[in-house]
Structures are given as structure tokens and as C-alpha cells.
């Protein structure tokens, strides 16, 4: 399929270019915008793989929610670029080392090398015919691995409650609106009429 491979190279080139611009852009807001472009192209690659559910979820979750909050924070930061650039060479060796390690791991996962030859290789796992990938993911997560999925949900819930507990401060002097109180007020309790003689005031 020539069109599919054409689009593959289009998405891949833009993805790699955008990812490079994320780390090389001088303006942090531009960097976040390039990150969003990279997410988009990754979603395009998912579409080409036939994983349209994952593609849409990637756009909804990462582009629609996470990157918005990223942008939100980055826009309000006052970043000093000269200060940021100073430590660049100092961190270059360790950053490069981590990059190389990740690259080797990826090659090992996707390449011919296997730890145990008898294990069925994950990359070749076939898509069951006649099932949409939305349903296939649903079967895996909510039927086969439902307990692990619930456990992951519990961990996230605990993390969320922890974050709220750590950051919530009850300030004593803050006035809050109590809507039911406001609605329950009637003229009898709220309004008082006074008969004032002219020229005297209250």
C-alpha cells in the first residue's frame, strides 16, 4: 500500500522533527506546541497501525488535557534562558548515556534477540479477526486483566487523595458562597424597613 507508506514517512519525519524542536526551541511555549505536534503525529502512526481507538485516546488524553495543563503552567513561568543553558554541557554525558541505554533497549525489544525463545513474541501478537480494536482492548483490560486493572486504579486513587491532602489548606478567613443559604433567605429575614425622618439619616 503506497499511500500508507507515504503517510508513514510523512508522520515519522514530522514526529522526529517536532520532537527535536521540543528540546531545541528557545521559547518554552513553542516547545510545548511542538510537543503537541509530536503527539498528533504519533496518533497518526497509531491510525496507520490500525489502532484507531488508541490514536483517539492519545489525542483526547494527552493533547486535550495533559498538554493543555502543560501549556497553562509554561505560559505563566518566567524562564531565564541563559541560566538554563549554563548546565547544558555538564548534563550532556549522563543524558546521552540514558538516551543510548533506551535506544539499546528498544532495539532489543523489537529486534530478533529474545531472552527465552519459547515465549511467544509480543510484537507478533495477531489481532483477532472480526473484532474491533476497541473491543479487543476492552476484553484484555476489563475481562482478562480486570484485577490488575482495578489495582492500578486503586493506586491512582490513593495518589490522587495524597496529592489533595498534601496541597489542601483550609484558610480561616476566606468567605465562601453558600448557595442553599442564599436561596433559603426570604424578605422577612433579609430586609428591614425603617421609617426615617427627613434630614436625620439613619
Amino acid at each position: 500500500m503506497t499511500v500508507a507508506s507515504l503517510f508513514f514517512y510523512l508522520f515519522s519525519v514530522v514526529l522526529v522533527g517536532a520532537a527535536f524542536m521540543v528540546i531545541s526551541a528557545r521559547n518554552p511555549v513553542h516547545a510545548v506546541l511542538f510537543l503537541i505536534l509530536a503527539f498528533f503525529n504519533a496518533a497518526g502512526l497509531f491510525l496507520l497501525l490500525g489502532a484507531e481507538f488508541l490514536a483517539m485516546i492519545l489525542v483526547i488524553v494527552y493533547v486535550g488535557a495533559v498538554a493543555v495543563l502543560f501549556l497553562f503552567v509554561v505560559m505563566m513561568l518566567d524562564v531565564d534562558f541563559t541560566e538554563l543553558k549554563q548546565g547544558f554541557l555538564q548534563y550532556l554525558p549522563i543524558g546521552g548515556l540514558i538516551g543510548i541505554l533506551l535506544f539499546i533497549e528498544l532495539v532489543m525489544v523489537l529486534g530478533a534477540w529474545t531472552i527465552a525463545p519459547e515465549i511467544v513474541r509480543v510484537v507478533d501478537a495477531p489481532v483477532i479477526a472480526g473484532i474491533e480494536n476497541t473491543e479487543a482492548i476492552g476484553r484484555l483490560m476489563y475481562t482478562k486483566y480486570v484485577y490488575l486493572f482495578q489495582a492500578a486504579g486503586m493506586v491512582l486513587l490513593v495518589a490522587m487523595i495524597g496529592a489533595i491532602v498534601l496541597t489542601l489548606h483550609h484558610k480561616p478567613n476566606v468567605k465562601r458562597q453558600n448557595i442553599s443559604d442564599q436561596v433559603a433567605r426570604d424578605p422577612k429575614t433579609a430586609v428591614e424597613l425603617k421609617d426615617i425622618k427627613p434630614g436625620q439619616g439613619v
Binding site: V29, I60, V63, G64, A65, V68, F72, M75, T134
Partner: protein, 354 residues
């Protein structure tokens, strides 16, 4: 060579032609909806509204269009020029591209009237409409103005909050349908309450607005907030932020923002029609109504929802920001979350789950 044309060139040309046709018709309809919006607003306030250009002022939107594109675009000197000009284009492009998957009706031979009938259609629309916030944020930030920036920040928080309840409402509808395809969602409303009651001709009772009425209300209000429509137009609140994120825009970029906003509003109307009002189906399943093509019913329902949205604009005062957040997170989120569980429970107990 002939094979190459048959496989690649003709399908591409056909899809391009369909898209251009859809866009042209959509934009003309929106021009008149904009006029209708202003007329309704005027009628509620006992004014005349636009009545000068053309008969009854019908051509007002086109006059405005020509005025916008003939003016000079002013770019603030300290603005981030690229992002500043990209923002309105992003807004319009996203709003228009969501229409690609919207099923508008049926041909006589039974195929659906839609540009792309993809099987995750509802997710696609949800994804695209959640990106609408980028146009606002980028425009607000790139303008390098405090009013615009405050508008952008408000908009970011507001649209992300209301997306959550919109997502849960969509999930409740999907539980009743069992498919992410928009055509399937409409088809699932062919039978329902009316056929169970033994009055199959009253097909408007079959649609999801009745069994899922609370969700219908939540979706309608969230759609207003998601499209920055009054009473939730805090990103552009004229009385406090001048015009919010749009304050520095003029001429064609402003036109694109305005256009994108209205396309998004009509998209939300179409989505309400598809999810809750039976899409292209006739309100009564008896001959004089079933003879009318489905496209007509679809447009009629979209216009009805748009009428409700413009009446809300005319009648309801603007929300305060903390009230807006309270409504989104403390009222709609628990309510829609509860309804997801309740609907799933009922479907499972009664054995109605698809």
C-alpha cells in the same frame, strides 16, 4: 495507469469534492444561523435586529464578511507573530474538520450521508472538540496583552472542566448503543420506549432524550460551556476583559475566530441531535413525515437546538467564575458519574445491554 487512477485518484477526488460541498453548504447555513441568532436575541430584547442589508436584513452576514476581509489586520508589535496568526486558523480548522464524521442523513439506497464513516466517530469528535481550547490559549498568549492572557487562562480551565462531564454523558449514551460509530448511535434510536409501549409510530419517544433526560440537560449546558457560549462566555467577557482572548484581533483573523466559534456551536447542536434527538429520523413514523428526506429532519433538529442555545444567550445572565467551576465540578461531575453507574446497572439488570 488506469488502475492507479481507479484506486487512488478518483476516490481522493470524490472525497475532496464531498468535503468541499459539505463545507460550502455548512458555511452558508451558518451565515443564516448567525443572522437568526442576532434576530432572536433582538426579538427577546424588543429590538429590530439587523434589518438593512437585503430583504429583512437577510444578507447581513455576507455584508459583515466582506467588511471583515477588506479591513487591515493589525498585529501588536510585541506579539508572537507566528502563533498569533496560527491561533484563529487552528480554531476554524479544528471546528470544520470535526464535521467529516457527522452522519447527516440517508441516501435513497440506504447508505449514510457522511464523508468518513469511521468506527470511532464519537471519539474523533470528542478529541477534535477538546482541541478547540488551543486556538483560544494560543491567541491569548501570543497577543501579549493582559486581558487576552486572562481570557486564555479562564478558557483553559473552563473547557477542560466541562470536557469531563461531556465525556461521561457520551459514555452513558454509548452504554445504551454498544458502538462508537455515529451511524450506529442513530440506528440504535430506531426502537426504544415507544416500541416497548406498543405505539411504534410515536418514534420521537424512542430517542435517547427521554430515557436519558438528565444527561440531555447536562450535555446541553456543558456544550454551552465548551463552546464559550453565553452564559459561560467568560473567556471573552466584555464587561470585565473587554473581549478576552480576542481583544487584539481584527479583520480576517477575528473573522476566523468568530467563524470557528459558530461552526463549533453548530457542531454541538448536531452532536446533541445525533446523540439524543434521533439524528435524521422523522419525529413520527407515519407517511407524511416519512416521505420527507432525512437530511431535512436533521437540519430542522439542528435549527431547533440552535434556537434553544440562542434563547439561553438572550435570557440568562453571565455566570461568575467560581459559580461556573462549582457547577462543573460539584454538580455535573458527580451527577454524570452517578448516571454512568446507574445506567450500566439498569442495562445489566434488565438485560437490555447491547
Amino acid at each position: 495507469m488506469a488502475e492507479f487512477f481507479a484506486i487512488y485518484v478518483w476516490p481522493a477526488l470524490i472525497i475532496a469534492g464531498q468535503s468541499v460541498l459539505l463545507m460550502a453548504v455548512l458555511l452558508v447555513i451558518i451565515a443564516f444561523l448567525l443572522y437568526a441568532d442576532r434576530k432572536i436575541w433582538a426579538a427577546v430584547q424588543m429590538r429590530r435586529g439587523p434589518n438593512v442589508v437585503g430583504p429583512f436584513g437577510l444578507l447581513q452576514s455576507f455584508a459583515d464578511f466582506i467588511k471583515f476581509i477588506c479591513k487591515e489586520p493589525v498585529i501588536p508589535s510585541a506579539a508572537n507573530k507566528g502563533v498569533f496568526l496560527l491561533a484563529p486558523i487552528v480554531t476554524t480548522l479544528l471546528a470544520l474538520s470535526a464535521w467529516a464524521v457527522m452522519p447527516l442523513g440517508k441516501w435513497i439506497d440506504g447508505t449514510t450521508l457522511v464523508v468518513a464513516d469511521i468506527n470511532v466517530g464519537i471519539l474523533y469528535i470528542f478529541a477534535i472538540s477538546s482541541l478547540g481550547v488551543y486556538g483560544v490559549i494560543m491567541g491569548g498568549w501570543a497577543s501579549n496583552s493582559k486581558y487576552a492572557f486572562l481570557g486564555a487562562l479562564r478558557s483553559a480551565a473552563q473547557m477542560v472542566s466541562y470536557e469531563v462531564s461531556i465525556g461521561f454523558v457520551i459514555i452513558t449514551v454509548l452504554l445504551c448503543v454498544g458502538s462508537l460509530n455515529l451511524t450506529d448511535i442513530v440506528a440504535a434510536q430506531e426502537s426504544g420506549l415507544a416500541s416497548r409501549l406498543g405505539i411504534p409510530w410515536a418514534s420521537f419517544l424512542n430517542w435517547f432524550w427521554l430515557p436519558l433526560f438528565p444527561m440531555f440537560v447536562v450535555f446541553f449546558i456543558s456544550a454551552l460551556a465548551e463552546t464559550n457560549r453565553p452564559p459561560f462566555d467568560l473567556p471573552e467577557a466584555e464587561s470585565e476583559l473587554v473581549a478576552g482572548f480576542m481583544v487584539e484581533y481584527s479583520s480576517t483573523p477575528y473573522l476566523l475566530f468568530m467563524l470557528g466559534e459558530y461552526v463549533a456551536i453548530v457542531l454541538m447542536c448536531a452532536l446533541i441531535t445525533t446523540l439524543f434527538l434521533g439524528g435524521w429520523m422523522a419525529p413520527l413514523d407515519i407517511p407524511p413525515f416519512t416521505w420527507v428526506p432525512g437530511l431535512f429532519w436533521f437540519i430542522l433538529k439542528v435549527c431547533f437546538v440552535f434556537f434553544m442555545i440562542s434563547m439561553v444567550k438572550a435570557m440568562v445572565p453571565r455566570y461568575r467564575y467560581d459559580q461556573l467551576m462549582r457547577l462543573g465540578w460539584k454538580v455535573f461531575l458527580p451527577l454524570s458519574l452517578f448516571m454512568v453507574a446507574a445506567v450500566a446497572f439498569v442495562l445489566q439488570i434488565m438485560g437490555w445491554a447491547p
